[in-house]
Amino acid sequence: MDIISPQLPHITAEPFYRPVRGEHALFEAAFGRQLPVLLKGPTGCGKTRFVEYMAWKLNRPLVTVACHEDLTASDLIGRYLIVGGQTVWMEGPLSAAARHGAICYLDEVVEARKDTMVVIHPLADSRRVLPIEKRGELVHAADGFMLVVSYNPGYQSVLKELKQSTRQRFVALDFDYPAPELEADIVVHETGIDRDTATKLVKFAGMTRNLKGSGLDEGASTRLLVHAGTLIAAGIAPEEACRAAISQAMTDDAEMLSAVQELFSSVF
């Protein structure tokens, strides 16, 4: 029977990433010892970029799955399909990564249903196997295979939490927004705006992060700064760019919006 495997793309160009405090060394060590990794941190602080960077550095293909609540075990492992009257086995991203020694990255893993997540358990401990029930097959993960999951502990919903039995299988790396100088570097590099504007954007982001917990769920992420910077580089006035890319993206509350705009105009 035919097996269709998904593409396992290699990352060819070096993604822009600056290690902050040795997270790349930890990741490499975990990779060397075949330990799965959990990335914790607020949204838009560079988790995905870090995984891309490590995949490039370790020269492994990278498969990314964005988790959502309708994600089923078949979506990860694979399913039978019929192509031209023939049955073929369509391999899922997780089993393909395990078989071929790729890095499999499950983004925002809390979004997936808990029963779906259980299928990763045997892959995430010393067994490193993936049972494929329908085919009666036990896939032993290749040497280069690595499981990486990410989640944002800032969610306050009690319905969205990682089960202990899941999270205790991982080496956890804690992420936060980069230090101001580095964050300005990133914004300059990603958007091409001048350093002065980038520094101001970062300062403004710091102000919104001070508001976390007293009105905002999260401050402006590095990703939002990059969005705003991109708009500014495209010729949009900074105030308009920040309103569209940052303020409105963070909150709908009218008072908070005015406060955020006032903060913005105080640094620009």
Partner: protein, 707 residues
């Protein structure tokens, strides 16, 4: 009220009754005569408001009865109503004298009404500027309205602002001015005005008040420059405000001082260094955003804060060290603590890195905030602050007064029949005290008034919005895939099943999708702090919140219960039933919500334990315990205050979590960020800075928690 005009003879007994003439001996002939002379509509209007204001305060009612008939000849009902409502506000906010002043001088009220038209009113700008100032770096500052005459000032934790900012004609200019005031006050705390003892320096001059004025003018220049560097946008607005108010012309001497003070990193000492010369010169024109200095107010707050933060930092350090892995056995010297502080420029607040025996240790957010606050008071972190607290210090922090044992108070006098006993955690013993708390469930006597109608009238928009958004939660339809039957084919499942069949496997029967109304299956218990400190308007807002929330929950269909808690020593722990799970939301429940009153202290552990027990008896997939509180655990002449109470409550919350209950705390205590993380973990609490926003916030939080 009757439709025809009342005669003086009919009016007199009404006024006698409302104004309690029997006790007050008011002579009311004039008032009665003037009211009797009014037309029907005016008469009914005036009488109604006399009755209402007299119910709040008899003197106020009397003053209104005296003034209103005359005022009605020149003003319409709406403006008279605004006037009396303003007086009623004053009595709540400031006191009777101020309220009477408002009624005595109607002309001033009218004039300030005109001011309100173009002016920035505190209640309107406070919401935006509160968030604005939270966004700036440094200590978290509060905003409050203050009627004092000498302008805006701060005690280094709270910014006191005038009720109206109306220096300019244009509304936007006035708002900007309010923002400039807030920024100037923030700059006083941020750029070290209070890090030097300017008051005693000024006191050495022959004219101390003048010296203080000079220092204030110098500081205004210095802070303006610092703001312009740190917040260029605000700097531009400050220059514009100076130009608009014609306060931008300085003499050469003052220009020289301004330049000297504009050097990055210049502190308040620099201003003091200029003081001798400036004292001899004429004062420059004051810009409209110049703020007052109140060294007395600062001193009191600063002293209390310094003591509190020193202990707090040392306790936190000791907690941090306790959490670290134990060191080599033979090494019993205490760990070497070192703080490395680095600032990118002289204006920036330094970032602190803590080194333990030379190794960097990540600082939790609340400790970083604490260090920043200490930094602002001293311009550095004094080395003696880096001593972790020993066991003795912990006790000093705990027991501020302990003159009587808890047992002395109630021994022998309080029956334990019919009570439930709960254990309590003693963190010093590291053990439970068995059957320590004597707990009773007590029904609140319902107060049947028109509380519900009032609240719904007061928040018409919110009530509607709540109902709608809760309905949206309820009606969340989700397509369920792979069902045995349903109204549509699940194409993915069908293809997969067909593939399975071809490959020789059983074909799945789960080939349909069906729309499914999500079962929420949530039980939630709201536990309301009924301690004495909620007395007054916190209590009012709590009641309003509970009522609105209940209205919303009724549309949602989640099972919910409401209990209040309060205690006075371990022998009188009381849980007040407001609504049980199985009870319907009816007039009695509404009456009990209306009847919630502030009681004793905040003994919390027993309440959490009992709530856990109650939740355990409900069949539900998810159980939530939401605590609405205004302060940390506390009790009367009892060691419950401080770490004992916090540790006991924490233990009770851990037990709750083990029992499958998710606790969450909503608090209006501004210091809550110090201890709540310890109680609830980083993401399980929220601090509502503005009590008046509680109804909005609680509903919003509930939606988010269960969505």
């Amino acid at each position: 009220m009757a439709q025809r005009e009342l005669t003086a003879a009919e009016i007199a007994p009404l006024l006698d009754d409302w104004l309690q003439v029997e006790f007050t001996d008011y002579a009311l002939h004039d008032q009665v005569a003037r009211i009797a002379a009014l037309g029907t509509g005016d008469q009914a209007f005036v009488l109604d408001w006399i009755r209402r204001s007299a119910a709040v305060n008899v003197q106020l009612g009397h003053m209104f009865a005296t003034q209103a008939p005359r005022i009605l000849t020149e003003a319409n009902h709406r403006s008279v109503e605004a006037w009396i409502l303003h007086a009623l506000d004053e009595i709540d906010r400031v006191g009777l004298k101020s309220a009477l002043d408002v009624l005595r001088d109607h002309g001033r009220f009218v004039a300030s009404g005109r001011e309100h038209a173009g002016g920035a009113v505190y209640s309107e700008f406070a919401g935006v500027l509160r968030n604005f100032v939270h966004g700036l770096s440094g200590r978290v500052l509060r905003l409050e309205q203050d009627g004092c005459a000498d302008g805006a000032y701060t005690d280094s934790e709270t910014l006191f602002l005038p009720a109206v900012v109306a220096d300019f004609d244009d509304a936007r200019d006035n708002f900007v001015l309010a923002k400039l005031l807030v920024t100037m006050l923030w700059a006083q705390t941020r750029f070290g005005t209070f890090a030097c003892d300017f008051a005693s320096v000024c006191a050495r001059y022959p004219d101390a008040a003048r010296a203080l004025d000079c220092f204030r003018a110098l500081e205004t220049l210095r802070l303006e420059a610092a703001i312009a560097r740190e917040l260029p946008g605000i700097g531009r607005e400050a220059r514009r405000a100076r130009a608009l108010s014609h306060s931008d012309a300085l003499t050469p001497a003052w220009r020289a001082w301004r330049e000297r003070l504009a050097v990055p990193g210049a502190g308040a000492r620099e201003s003091l260094a200029c003081l001798d010369a400036a004292y001899a010169a004429a004062l420059p024109p004051a810009p409209p955003f110049q703020c007052a200095l109140r060294p007395d107010a600062v001193a009191a707050v600063q002293a209390a804060r310094i003591a509190r933060e020193k202990t707090l930092l040392r306790v936190k350090l000791s907690e941090l060290l306790d959490d670290m892995p134990p060191r080599a056995e033979r090494d019993d010297s205490s760990p070497r603590l070192e703080l490395r502080s680095a600032a990118a420029s002289p204006d920036d607040l330094p970032r602190h890195d803590l080194l333990v025996d030379g190794n960097p240790v990540p600082l939790p957010d609340h400790m970083a905030a604490l260090l920043t606050s200490i930094q602002l008071d001293f311009s550095e972190i004094p080395p003696e602050y880096l001593q972790p607290a020993g066991p003795g210090d912990y006790d000093a922090y705990a027991a501020q007064s302990l003159d009587k044992g808890p047992d002395d108070v109630w021994s022998g006098t309080y029956h334990e029949d019919g009570a439930i006993f709960y254990p309590e955690w003693d963190f010093r013993r590291q053990h439970f005290r068995k059957n320590w708390c004597v707990m009773r469930e007590i029904d609140i006597a319902p107060v049947h008034d028109d509380f519900r109608a009032q609240v719904l009238q007061r928040y018409p928009g919110l009530a509607r919005q709540l109902r709608r958004s809760f309905e949206a939660l309820r009606d969340q339809d989700r397509p369920e895939r792979r069902q045995v039957d349903g109204n549509e084919l699940d194409l993915d499942a069908l293809v997969e099943a067909h593939g399975d069949a071809h490959a020789g496997h059983d074909m799945s029967e789960r080939l349909f999708t069906r729309r499914h109304r999500t079962e929420r299956d949530i039980a939630v218990l709201f536990m309301v702090d009924m301690s004495g400190s909620t007395l007054g308007w916190i209590n009012d807002v709590q009641r309003e919140t509970l009522l609105l929330l209940s209205e919303g929950l009724e549309t949602l269909g989640d099972r919910y219960a409401i209990y209040g808690f309060s205690g006075m020593t371990r022998k009188k722990c009381e849980l007040y039933r407001i609504k049980r799970f199985e009870e319907n939301y009816d007039a009695d429940v509404q009456g009990r919500i209306s009847g919630i009153r502030a009681r004793d202290y905040t003994r919390m552990g027993f309440a959490v334990r009992h709530a856990t027990h109650l939740l355990g008896q409900v069949q539900a997939r998810r159980r939530l315990l939401i605590v609405i509180s205004d302060g940390k655990p506390d009790d009367y002449t009892d060691k419950y205050r401080g770490p004992y109470g916090i540790e006991d409550t924490r233990r009770a919350l851990l037990q709750a979590m083990h029992a499958g209950v998710r606790p969450f705390c909503i608090t209006v205590d501004k210091e809550a960020r110090d201890y709540l993380p310890r109680l609830y973990g980083a993401a399980r609490y929220t601090v509502v800075d503005d009590v008046a926003r509680l109804p909005y916030k609680v509903a919003d939080i509930y939606r988010r928690l269960t969505h």
